[in-house]
Symmetry: C3
Subunit: 677 residues, 3 copies
Amino acid sequence: MQKNTNIRLEQLLHGGDYNPEQWLDSPEILEKDLEFFLKANINVITVGMFSWSVLEPEDGKYQIDWLIEIVNKMYQNGIYTILGTPSGARPQWLAKSYPEVLRVNANRERQLFGARHNHCYTSLAYRKKVRDINMLLAKELGNHPGIILLHLSNEYGGDCHCPLCQAKFREWLKERYKTIEELNRRWNTTFWSHIYQDFEQVESPSPKGEMLLHALNLDWRRFVTAQTVDFAEWEKQAIRDGGCEKPITTNFMGDYDGLNYRKFKEVLDIASWDSYPEWHRKPEIQTARETAMQHDFMRSLLKKPFLLMESSPSSTNWQDVSKLRKPGILRAASLQAIAHGSDSALYFQMRQSKGASEKLHGAVIDHYGGEDTRVYQEVCQVGKALAELTELRGTKQNSKIALLYDTENRWALMDAQGPRNCGMPYKETADKMYAALRRQGVNVDVIDMEDVLKDYQIILIPMLYMFRAGIEKKIRAFVENGGTVIMTFWSGVVDDADSCFLGETPSKLTDVLGLRRTEIDGLYDEEENTAIPKKNNSLSLNKKYTCRNLCELVKVSDAEVLMTYEKDFYKGLPVLTCNQYGKGRIYYVCADMEEAFYTDLIEAVFEKEKIEKPFSFIPEGVEVTTRQSKEDSYLIVQNFNREAVALDFPKSNYEVIYGTQSEKLDSFSTVVLKKVK
Amino acid sequence: MQKNTNIRLEQLLHGGDYNPEQWLDSPEILEKDLEFFLKANINVITVGMFSWSVLEPEDGKYQIDWLIEIVNKMYQNGIYTILGTPSGARPQWLAKSYPEVLRVNANRERQLFGARHNHCYTSLAYRKKVRDINMLLAKELGNHPGIILLHLSNEYGGDCHCPLCQAKFREWLKERYKTIEELNRRWNTTFWSHIYQDFEQVESPSPKGEMLLHALNLDWRRFVTAQTVDFAEWEKQAIRDGGCEKPITTNFMGDYDGLNYRKFKEVLDIASWDSYPEWHRKPEIQTARETAMQHDFMRSLLKKPFLLMESSPSSTNWQDVSKLRKPGILRAASLQAIAHGSDSALYFQMRQSKGASEKLHGAVIDHYGGEDTRVYQEVCQVGKALAELTELRGTKQNSKIALLYDTENRWALMDAQGPRNCGMPYKETADKMYAALRRQGVNVDVIDMEDVLKDYQIILIPMLYMFRAGIEKKIRAFVENGGTVIMTFWSGVVDDADSCFLGETPSKLTDVLGLRRTEIDGLYDEEENTAIPKKNNSLSLNKKYTCRNLCELVKVSDAEVLMTYEKDFYKGLPVLTCNQYGKGRIYYVCADMEEAFYTDLIEAVFEKEKIEKPFSFIPEGVEVTTRQSKEDSYLIVQNFNREAVALDFPKSNYEVIYGTQSEKLDSFSTVVLKKVK
Amino acid sequence: MQKNTNIRLEQLLHGGDYNPEQWLDSPEILEKDLEFFLKANINVITVGMFSWSVLEPEDGKYQIDWLIEIVNKMYQNGIYTILGTPSGARPQWLAKSYPEVLRVNANRERQLFGARHNHCYTSLAYRKKVRDINMLLAKELGNHPGIILLHLSNEYGGDCHCPLCQAKFREWLKERYKTIEELNRRWNTTFWSHIYQDFEQVESPSPKGEMLLHALNLDWRRFVTAQTVDFAEWEKQAIRDGGCEKPITTNFMGDYDGLNYRKFKEVLDIASWDSYPEWHRKPEIQTARETAMQHDFMRSLLKKPFLLMESSPSSTNWQDVSKLRKPGILRAASLQAIAHGSDSALYFQMRQSKGASEKLHGAVIDHYGGEDTRVYQEVCQVGKALAELTELRGTKQNSKIALLYDTENRWALMDAQGPRNCGMPYKETADKMYAALRRQGVNVDVIDMEDVLKDYQIILIPMLYMFRAGIEKKIRAFVENGGTVIMTFWSGVVDDADSCFLGETPSKLTDVLGLRRTEIDGLYDEEENTAIPKKNNSLSLNKKYTCRNLCELVKVSDAEVLMTYEKDFYKGLPVLTCNQYGKGRIYYVCADMEEAFYTDLIEAVFEKEKIEKPFSFIPEGVEVTTRQSKEDSYLIVQNFNREAVALDFPKSNYEVIYGTQSEKLDSFSTVVLKKVK
């Protein structure tokens, strides 16, 4: 049987999570649901995710007919099914019969039954029960023509500190370091007399034990990812062993740093994620950009279209404030996913639960249950839009620009103790760089240190505290061969065991950069400095910008200094430098700069490097992306302002395939253009 | 023996908590205390509450003579005694000999000995020891002519998660739901695969287990109340079995939501509570109103005079800031209790402890120990006032207005997850409504969903999220028969298992209201909207008011729209409606309005419904109430402003029985008038 | 062998913590270190502190040659060694083999291996292992001519609640109170029925048990100090039993209230501490004064020169913000220690660790490893300065002024519950008084209630809530004999078991003060009052000052009233009084006053009492101290302003021995003058 890693369905997916098992005693409800689905162009539902206690009400006693019936009925009505495995929430009996499946927290307390996403990933008892039910689902439904995708568990996350996990962790360390001496050396355990004599002495980090050995913390996080990937692999194998070769995904969370999602690449055929932005908390364009970065991260994982697996059709119930989405936002957000490479706009949830913790979460069909709701009407609009945009399905998103944002670096950076324990602006710096790139209207890949750099023209590298995976060599080669890099302060400080490099830093790149770091100053929250441009600098920068939080002091050997500090004892020292190395150029930003700095810097660098942009001028608040197939090229334009804005659409070469092209682009509206061949 | 549910004492009680066991080795102190009491018109003391380790220094070895001696001595001096049972704090030996009496917290940790109010209510060992000592006290002192009231324990509260309580909880659930299937159905356990197969699988809520199953949380709180009531009943039975038939009370806490105090109705002969307002933190009138609402709640419990059981004669020691009360506040606060139906003004405490956690709590007699203290002098003034007002004792407080403020609704509402997790304004809305009512100078009952509605003219119903106890039927009948209701947003959402009603909401009242809810918008803290009046609305409202936090969107079928939103996408939708139903009218407030809105609305409704008021105009900051006996009617007027205010006292028909009636009412002063027959 | 309690080295010490065991596999690094040391005038290193797992890699298997080699090599190069005992961090094997050495926290949870400073002080197993290694170190190195000082453990602190400690605590209590009846009496356990029948029932304070019995809390803190002192004594005895009679110290922490450092007097030959001020967070002079108070406290412990044992040569890594020190601050801070009686300026650390929690902490030699760092250059400047100031070594610091700041009082005061639980300004009041004193340029001793008072002229006593150790008698005698006291509000409230005094307070001093306390008012954070001067008051005070937080009300019998409250119901009551008693005077400050009040009060009192000052006028921001030997007298002047200030140096009688005396004193610069004989 040949494995197909893509969904065999020539539509953009529209639908979402559906829990018919909550309504089995109300067939009239299920009947009504189908009507709603059909009217709203729903073509896919996701089932099974929290159905374990209905699928297997007693240990070994399965009850799957109801699910087959749903899948059949949907299929007969042209609706496809994404089949979830139920491991995200176990039945009561499973916890009672096999207590080892219950997680132990960092304080070494075994949890009680409750909530969800809280099983031990190592427990063989759990793995066995998961394997059994996954195989059964695969066998009974895996080859059903209505099933288009298998969905592993739900939002994998968290860690377990039980004895089984401790033992596995020690094995993993042994595999990594071979000898305890090597572990001691890499972890620098001589500090505070922590030398291990034996792998058996290693314990996972704990507030009642060790929390300050950074390499232990880092390796524990790596192990948790590895063990979770192993669990996902196990789930997948059960599906394959059950005879199902359909593509497999799991739903990731936005900006989640509990796991290094990059490590799931091998397990997944398709990447997917759950997007729950807090619309209307900040200006909509800011929320849109933060969401876009997540979309781009998910697309960059497998470098192909991903799925928006969950999103709320109205408000969530678990954010501080359940804010209603203003009219038009649902469609704008759904089409933004498509604009960034998604082949779907799916919801959590199709019908609201009656009780328990998410009963007030938004849904396509609410407790009221009528069609005359604003939410349902907007869902219908999305359904219509997706149908009109069918040809976008499967198209790619080419990018010559990459932002390097690395999860392992994030772990180490945030854990480092110093130079600012009250806030290290890693995410913030990446966000500012990303926003600056988006203002240029170019597609952006979000990559990590393990990725190949050579295919890009420009790479932005915020705060790369840790150098691993040969990144310093890759950066050197990239620049040498003509690439452009913008790198910032606090890069190249530690190796992959979070151990400081001796000698000049950013380690092994000081000749490429034409400078070395001497000190780094932490600023109190209320402090700031200013960067002022040097006369006749090579980028013609001519404004002042504020710096906060961190100001690095460097000693320049070869680089051009473009901007300098305005005050403090390091007045006159460089804030921005540029060094020509080989055929390329590398910029170094010494301080935590305000967003306007990055916007102007990137605009100037784009001009210098002659980067192509879809529009010569994009008004603030407007988002532009492109998607490409072998034959066609599409331009997607969205206005995230609360007012209409004027925009110079291309006069020729493009035809409108969605929305209305006029002199003004309406608030929260989308226009899709196709290049005329 | 005939049970007397009232205190046989024709005085307003003055006195309070007294711990002579702390001074048994200083007879001169006890002698001095008596002198102080007599000079201050103290006529009652409360003893025994924390005396267990003196009363029973060793398991089964009692030592009660000292207590009898105190009671005798007081009685001989005309001072009566309230006899407390000592269950609020157990002796050390009891915890050592019977470890099961120590509570287990939600994290399943057995507590050590310490503090107080922390015994397991289920433990038979504890119950047995409590029964023994209560019976002994009843036998030895219960029929002493000096004893006028039995006082159970102290400030019942908290919960215990020990195995004994878990077992009892399961029994309680079985009693409630009969079958596990029914529990699953009502709790909606299919969500997140939580189906129970057996009552044995149920565990109380725990941060290390389940916290998100709302129906479980709600039933746990109900069970805790039930078990506490059962414990109180057990204590009472021991007293009765000891041969004492005197009235029984227990001291409640202000605005405490750990227990549903309504469920104690059957146990108590007299309601009483401990009032500790933070005077001078807010404007005094605001503190006075918040306190008044608690008084009214306590009075409404048994619909008869209650007791102010504790209050501080000066500052407390456990609030953030131990603020001194300004001169006159002690008397004003004491008489405010009387004004709202109390037959007492009692203090914690008569004499300050020398050491331990409350050593710095205010007392009638302080460590200094002289009579020349400001506090003692003010206590004497209160004593004098109470003596002058003796005839108020036992008089009732008739009210045609009720505020429905329901503890179970509060539990469900605060636990609901959505639409605002950072603050649901239930208490705040009730407070604003109550303040608006108090500005009219009318008496107010504070009732819950189990109360009878039909005797009122107007009922105010803030945020009645949960409908239970047939409240929707009672409201319908009340309006139909000519009553007036003011109901707010977020009413009628869930049933008594916290499960959402399907169909139109407020459930089963949409025809009465002439509208249905469509959506509810959560506002961020910094956001607001405005309600603007419709021209020629039937209440002639003509001002604008601010709304915050929550804005409900409704679809009107029949109701009159009186005010609308000024902005956002729901601009023009109703904020205030009124519907005529049967002979009555029901108003619906869609948003969380500022206090001025309720003040103006209620003034307008009072005018429309021709509600009688004692004064045509009451200056801001002045409190007015009435008390009535079969023969007489009293008008109590208090000025809570820091300045004197002008007030038009009735020119005839009334005589002054306390205070001075002049053109101005002094700051913090009280005048009591009696209707001339 | 005669014990020498002073270091036999005629230099001011310069150097610090050094961990060569982290670099044993890099001899080139160790070689380089020595070069660095010599160039920077480093004359001492501290070793051994966290070396246990290298010194004893397996239970009973020692490996000490590397350490001897380091000491030898240093000695051969003129560098001396402070030898630390390694008890601050145990090896992994020790925790595994003897689990009783792991602390149990207040929640009764045994900790896992990890971090440091976390051994049970009671465990005999731990004591035995510590004794063995200390004896070995003493034997092998104790008489090495390069070893000048023994350094016990590192920053003793924390507590352990294990069964061994509980048993020891009970023994300690039995020793203190003899009978359980006496304990009950002193602790006032009748309150809340807490009477103990037996010492066996006593448990240490716990959040899951008792936290509110103040006398228990207080005695637990005393016990923890006693047990820690006992442990230090045990460590010392092992050194002595190992044949080493050299002086002994341990490094204290700044403003640490976990231990009563005064109780270590008998154990230590030399006091030392670790100074980590947050430079540049507040105005530098404020940081300097707060640091100076710690220096003075350490000097006052043994009334002789102390050591600055640790300080960061640049930023720390564990404060919120790792702020760089501005140029000059390192030298100013180092010389400030000297100015206040230190005979050293030592650093943590000589070379930065590569990994683990303190890898980013500042060091003399950083990861870069070159000499051309700003930090190293400034360290060299310090080395040079210390060499020039060699003659200051061993000189004393005479003081006629004392500030009484008592740790046990602090414990009781902060634990008291009332009158302000959201902040009692003990430290703040002491800081304000100290700053006022420093503005006068006089030396100040920081003493406690156990100290002798009679040698001082003026004693400042902030908030002496607890009276113990006969302090009321000592104060009476001191004033009677002509001394001047400035005492504040909230003094003389409780005895040494935290039990309130009955009768007039401040207890047994009301006749000396000429007043008694009546009440104390807590102010909310946003409230304030004002003190206004009485006309013709004896100090000629003529300004208004703000009071906050606490306003005490007193009734004057004999005292002169100098200032009164401006508002509230206690308007006109005294804020400042003065009473002549015997030959002396005692001032009483009734409210928490702003710093300017203390500055003006102390200036006026100094004038009245004719206190000698080194300068008639000291500009704000300039620090002045004096040191004296039998023959010579030195005047040290430091400018902590960011700008140069004009200063009138003495025109004659003094010669400059360090720095430059000109009309202006440069920012962060120091001048040392020597009296010409």
